[in-house]
Amino acid sequence: MKFKTLALAAMLSVAFTPGTLAERGSSGHVNIIYWQAPSTLNPYLSGGTKELEAASLVLEPLARYDETGSMVPWLAESVPTVENGGVSEDLTSITWKLKPNLKWSDGSDVTSTDVVFTWTYCTHPDGGCAQNEKYNDVKNVEALDDLTVKVIFGVPKPFPYGPFVGAQAPILQAKQFAECMGEKAPECTEANFGPVGTGPFMVKEFRPNDVISFEANQNYRDAAKPAFATATLKGGGDAAAAGRSVLETGEFDYAWNLQLAPDVIKAMEAKGKGKVVAAFGTLVERIIINFTDPDPALGAERATAKHPHPILTDVNVRKALSMAIDRNLLVEIGYGTTGRPTCNVLPAPAIYRSSANDACLTQDIEGAKKLLEDAGWKPGGDGVRVKDGKRLTLLYQTSTNAVRQDFQALIKQWWKEIGVETELRNIDASVFFGSDPGSPDTFQKFFADVEMYANNFDGTDPEAYMSNWSCKQAPRPETQWQGNNMARYCSQEYDGLVAEMASTGDINERARLAKAMNDKLMQDYVILPLVDRGRVSAHSNTLGGVVLNTWDSELWNAADWYREK
C-alpha cells in the first residue's frame, strides 16, 4: 500500500515535471500552424503579427511582457527602473545590462554593439523600418561596455520601454545585417529569411508565405531547452482548417488565432484531441461614429470638419444607438467564452480600467426610443424617425469577416427597432485597412456614417493609444487622409488630458488620466465599444508548456514547450 502510493507519487511527479527533466531535443518534432503565412522573418521589414510571431522563435528582445502583462528581463539581466537606477531621474535615459555569456546561434558572442546596430538599422532614413515608432525620440544609443547599453531620449520619457522591448523590437546580429542598411535592406534575402538569433530555434529552411522549418539552437542559453529538436511552422488556409488540423485530425500541435463561431470551435474541441486556450488583452471591437458629413454631394469637402454630420452630432442619437445594442448577445453569437462585453475602449491592464460606464452592458430599447422621442425625433410613415426633414438613416461599413457580418445584421435589426434605418456595406480588408488616398473605401476616409473594426495597442502603456483621439489626429485631405482619429472628434478638454499625460511620470496619476480620457470618449459616445476580444488558440493534448500571452508573441515561451508522455 505504502509502496503503491509512493510509486504513484513518483509517477505523478514525473508526469508533472517532464519539462525540467527533459534534455534538449528529447521531444522530437513540433508542428505549428498559422493560417496566415509569414512572408519574412525580419520583423523590421514587416510589421505583421504573423511575421513578428514567427520571428520570435529566433530573435529575442532585451525584455518582454509575460502572460500577465508585466515586464520580464529576457536578454537583459534585469528591467531598469528609476528605483534601481537603470532609468535616469529626469527620465531621459535608460541603461540596459545584457546577461553574460549570451551566444548567437552561430556561436559568436552577443554584445552591446549588436544592440546599437539594431537601432541604427531600424532608424536608417531610407530603410522603411516597420517598427520605427519603437525608437521614437531616441537621440542616441551608446555602448558603455561589451554588455551595457545606454539609450538617450531627446525628451523625458515617462515610459522608456519602447526600444528593444517586446516582439516588435528584437535584437539583430550586427555581423549578419551590416551590409543591409537602408536601401539595401530588402536585397539581403538570405539574412531576412534566415536571421541569426538568440532564441530557442534557428531557421533551417524558409519558404515565404508557405512553411518554415526550424531546428533547435545548439547555443541556446539554457542547455536543457528547447525540448523539441525540430519545429515546423506551416502557413495558409483559413482559421477553420487550422482548428480542424489540431482539434480534429491531430496533424498539428498548435494553431494560432482561431477566430471562429463559438459553436463551431466547441464542436471541434469535443473531439478530444486538443484544448482551446484563450487570454484577454486590449483588443476591442468597436463602432466608430462619424462626426463629419460623408455626403458625396460635398465633393472634396466630404467627411471633413467643415461639414458636421447632420444627425450624428446629436449626442442623443449616438447614445440611443449605444443603448439599443445587446453586447452580451453579441459576445454569445460571435465569441463565446473568448470574448466579453465591454463599455470601455481601454479595457486593460486592470489599473487603467474604468467602471464608470458599465450601464451600457444592459440593452435598453425602450429607453433608447424614449431618448430619441424626447430629443424630437418622431417616427415617420415607414417607422424611420425624422426631425427637421432629416431621416435617421445610416451607412454602416466594416471589413469582410463572417463574425462582423453577423454583428452588422444583428445591430441593424436593433437599430431598426428604435427607428433607425441602416444600410450595410462590407469591404475587403486589404482595401478597408489600406491607406491608399485614391480609394474611397478606407477606414480612414470613413465615407460612411458608422464603421466597425477592432484595435488594440502594443505592450501595456496606453499613452500613444489614448492620444489617437486628439483633434490633430483627424484624417483629412491635408494629411492625405492619414491619422487615427477616424471619428474626427475634437475636444479641447480631451486634448488637454492628452498633453497632461505626456508629461506625467507617476503611474497612479497616469492611470487616473487614462481613465478620464476613456470616460470622456465613452460619455460623449464617440466610440461604441462592443466586445473585449480574447486571443484564442488551440494546442494538442500532447503539447505541454503552452502559456498563451496576448501582450507579446504567442510563441514567446516556445523554449519551455515539451511533448507530454
Binding site: V264, I333, T400, L410, E423, N426, D428
Partner: protein, 305 residues
C-alpha cells in the same frame, strides 16, 4: 431547302410557323420537358414564394437560432435565427437574376466577337488579341477598380441593391465571355470552309445573312453548353464576390452566399448546406436539359426525324 422542295401544285398544308416546329420537337425531349418544368417551378417559387411564405428573410429571431426543420421553419434556421426557407426563396431571386442576366451578357458578347472574328479575316487578329488581353487581366484587381470607380454613382442612380446588381452582372459578363468567343471562332473557322457556306457565298449572300442564316445555327451547340455552364459560373462567381466583400450587402441572401456561410457548419448542421447546394445544382441541371432540348429542336437535321 425544305420550303422549295414542296411542289406548288399540291394543295399547300396550312402554313406552320417555324417556332411551332421547334416546340413540337422540343416536346419530344423528355429531359428538356422535365427541366423546363422544374425551372419554371423554381422561377414561380422565388417570384411568388416570398408573398406566400411571409417571414422576412432578414428578420433575426435570436432565440430560434440553429434550429432543425420544424413547422415554423420547414428548412430550419441559421446561426442568427433567420428562416432558411425565406432566405433560399429570397436568395433565389437574386441568384437567378444575376445568373441569367450575366450569362446572357457573356454569351451575347462571346458569340458576337467569336462570329465576327471567325468570319472576317481582317478582324480576327485584333479581336483575338483583345480576347487574350481579357483572359490575362487579373480578375480581383479589376473588380476592385470597377467597384471603386462605379459603385457610388450607380448607388445614387439606382439605390444600393439595384446599383450593385447592374455592377455585378456587368463584371461577371465582361469577364466570362472569352471562352465562348474562342470556341465560336474556332467553329466558324471550320464552317467557313464547308461546301454549303461556299455555295451561299458564290450566289452572293450578304455577310449578315450568311452569319445569321448559315453560320450561327451551326454553332449553337457549343453556345448552349456555354450557356449552361455560364449560369452555374455566374451564380458561383457572385458568391465569391460577396465573400470578398464586393457583392451585395452582407445581409442580402443569395444562394452562393448561403452555401458559403453554411460550409463552416458542415459538421454541426449538415442539412443547412443541403438547401442552397440542391437549389444551385438542380437549377443548373434543369438549364442544361433545356439547353439540350433546344439544341435538338433548333437543329433542322434532327427535327422531324
Amino acid at each position: 431547302m425544305t420550303e422549295s422542295a414542296l411542289p406548288a401544285a399540291h394543295d399547300p398544308p396550312p402554313p406552320r410557323s417555324q417556332w411551332l416546329d421547334v416546340w413540337d420537337q422540343f416536346k419530344t425531349h423528355r429531359g428538356a420537358l422535365w427541366g423546363m418544368g422544374f425551372f419554371v417551378t423554381v422561377l414561380i417559387a422565388v417570384l411568388l414564394g416570398p408573398y406566400l411564405w411571409t417571414i422576412d428573410a432578414q428578420f433575426i429571431d435570436i432565440r430560434a437560432r440553429n434550429q432543425g426543420p420544424s413547422f415554423a421553419h420547414p428548412f430550419g434556421t441559421d446561426q442568427l435565427g433567420r428562416d432558411t426557407l425565406a432566405r433560399v426563396l429570397a436568395g433565389g431571386r437574386v441568384s437567378l437574376a444575376v445568373g441569367i442576366a450575366a450569362m446572357l451578357l457573356a454569351l451575347g458578347l462571346g458569340t458576337l466577337i467569336g462570329l465576327v472574328a471567325g468570319y472576317f479575316k481582317r478582324l480576327d487578329g485584333p479581336l483575338m488579341r483583345l480576347t487574350d488581353l481579357f483572359l490575362a487581366l487579373p480578375l480581383l484587381p479589376l473588380l476592385l477598380v470597377v467597384i471603386m470607380l462605379f459603385r457610388d454613382s450607380l448607388r445614387s442612380a439606382f439605390g444600393p441593391e439595384t446599383g450593385i446588381f447592374f455592377l455585378i452582372v456587368f463584371i461577371i459578363g465582361i469577364t466570362s465571355w472569352m471562352q465562348t468567343a474562342r470556341i465560336v471562332r474556332g467553329d466558324v473557322l471550320t464552317l467557313k470552309e464547308r461546301e454549303f457556306v461556299l455555295a451561299s457565298q458564290s450566289i452572293g449572300t450578304p455577310a449578315r445573312r450568311m452569319i445569321t442564316r448559315h453560320v450561327l445555327p451551326n454553332v449553337l451547340s457549343p453556345i448552349m453548353v456555354s450557356a449552361t455552364l455560364g449560369i452555374a459560373n455566374a451564380i458561383i462567381t457572385e458568391s465569391a464576390l460577396s465573400f470578398l466583400g464586393l457583392g451585395f450587402p452582407s445581409d442580402f441572401p443569395t444562394w452562393g452566399r448561403l452555401l458559403f456561410d453554411s460550409t463552416d457548419y458542415l459538421q454541426q448542421y449538415p442539412e443547412r448546406v443541403l438547401w442552397p447546394g440542391l437549389a444551385i445544382s438542380l437549377t443548373v441541371l434543369s438549364v442544361n436539359y433545356i439547353g439540350d432540348g433546344l439544341r435538338d429542336a433548333l437543329d433542322p437535321r434532327i427535327r422531324g426525324r
